[in-house]
Symmetry: C2
């Protein structure tokens, strides 16, 4: 670790102790409480602050969704026969699970991350200019789509990417209908207020496996049980074109998809320009730039 | 196959052709339309006939559920360190997935299968006396509970057990709350009206693997897609003590359970005494008696 790069202390130590700890959040959830746009109202902002997520039905028009889906189809076909590192496959098969950094490789998805209404909401919550920390398309095919186990994104971004504070959020744009049948995202509302540290040191080049199936950076079962007892579970579902925003530290996961209905989404993480990456807090090397932007 | 044992023709051939086929159901769904009990009414009977399932909130009292749960806990402990064939474990682990023939090995569960209100409904639908074709406890632990892929029970019972006609139904009694979060049963309502034949011959002693993870006797993806397009999906959920009845040929399955909330149920299949097992229709040997009753 280059000490010169370390700006602040480690506010959220993880993968360092041999038992999990619950640490209180030390950062705001909503950074600008003064409404300065017309896309969300006061109640929605309060809901986001309280629950750590916000769901919009039909945030995008049918036309926009059709364009994104057409682009996704092309991207999936282009991805099948390449071994670019941006393309992550299912554990135990060659099916494409995710394509990373689509805001760089694809003009349509680059424009999506600059979408004015989306930017307005994100900048309201994070209190100023943001940049894309990570973007990807996730494919969850029908019949065989695999689960994503519970995790806080921030735990990984802090440990492996060096994101210092909680001032980032994720957007998930549904390109197919999300239902209770096809492995939609489950969240623990309110869990963004506590940081559950994880046990186990980060192996070298951990990302190559963890993007397929994560084993380090996973919260312990006892903490998850307590969180769910305390806060419950929600599954925000809606039609293609709906948008889910959630705080970087919200505990979330999704079941496998045995239904015939595929579920794919565009996933994009915005980070405040005031919260640029430092050296990783719990890993020997930072992850590659296509997973965690350092260069823009 | 002993020809002397074959009473009728094979009304639902499966695992014989090299392409799947859709065959129209040749049997009634409700065998006695004249209401002769007070547990279900005319609308419920019509719902069952139309959709192939019926869900009852609080069919069993809290006291009954507590007694069953206590018995289940004991059964699970007794099951850990034995290698009785009635005990089926999770693929890839030693966790108990199912315990079969609990109506024989356990007095409390034997009484459950004779429960007067349950018997009244079952005999109404199947038109007369029934016997227990199969009983089991299914455990779906939190965090790691595995999926059950789509299937029609009747397809297996016909092929491997020699059940000649569709005159049986399954009861699933929830011992914990069933929610949209913990891998509850999904059904294709109306699918009980079509028999989707499967491709691939039954291997010898298939049951040893198929009870853990089924690969033969699984409907093809194209048929499942068409069924769901035509009929949609439902997930009947409710509190502990709720009861789900479903027709032997209803297409159903369930996702894995990553939630902390375990889901276990008592599962019991009743078959009409007019529909006793013959020789298997598509297997060299019948399955053991603890999976498919022949001896009572």
């Amino acid at each position: 670790m280059t000490e010169a790069m370390r700006v602040g202390v480690d506010a959220y130590p993880t993968r360092k102790a041999d038992r999990p700890q619950w640490l209180e959040r030390q950062d705001p959830v909503v950074y600008n409480q003064v409404l300065n746009q017309e896309v969300i109202d006061k109640e929605q902002l309060a809901f986001y602050e309280e629950n750590g997520y916000l769901f919009f039905e039909s945030f995008f028009t049918d036309g926009e969704v059709a364009a994104y889906k057409s682009e996704l189809k092309q991207l999936l076909e282009d991805s099948r026969n390449t071994d670019r590192p941006e393309i992550v496959r299912e554990p135990g098969s060659d099916e494409v699970r995710s394509v990373f950094a689509v805001h760089r490789s694809n003009e349509v998805f680059r424009e999506l991350t600059a979408h004015p209404r989306l930017q307005a909401v994100v900048q309201q919550i994070l209190g100023g200019p943001v940049y894309v920390h990570q973007s990807r398309i996730n494919f969850k095919p029908g019949f065989t789509g695999k689960e994503f186990y519970w995790h806080s994104d921030f735990e990984t971004w802090h440990a492996e990417d060096g994101m210092p504070r909680m001032r980032a959020l994720s957007c998930s744009l549904a390109l197919e209908d999300n239902t209770i049948f096809n492995g939609s995202l489950m969240v623990v509302p309110g869990s963004h207020r506590v940081f559950v540290s994880c046990v186990g040191a980060t192996p070298d080049n951990h990302y190559r496996d963890s993007l397929r199936k994560q084993e380090i950076g996973v919260p312990d079962q006892e903490s998850l049980t307590k969180l769910v007892e305390q806060y419950g579970l929600k599954m925000p579902v809606g039609k293609a074109g709906s948008l889910l925003l959630f705080d970087c530290n919200l505990m979330h996961g999704s079941s496998g998809n045995i239904s015939p209905l595929p579920r794919s989404n565009v996933f994009c993480v915005f980070n405040s320009v005031e919260n640029r990456l430092e050296e990783p807090f719990s890993a020997a090397q930072p992850r590659p730039d296509f997973i965690a932007t350092r260069s823009e």
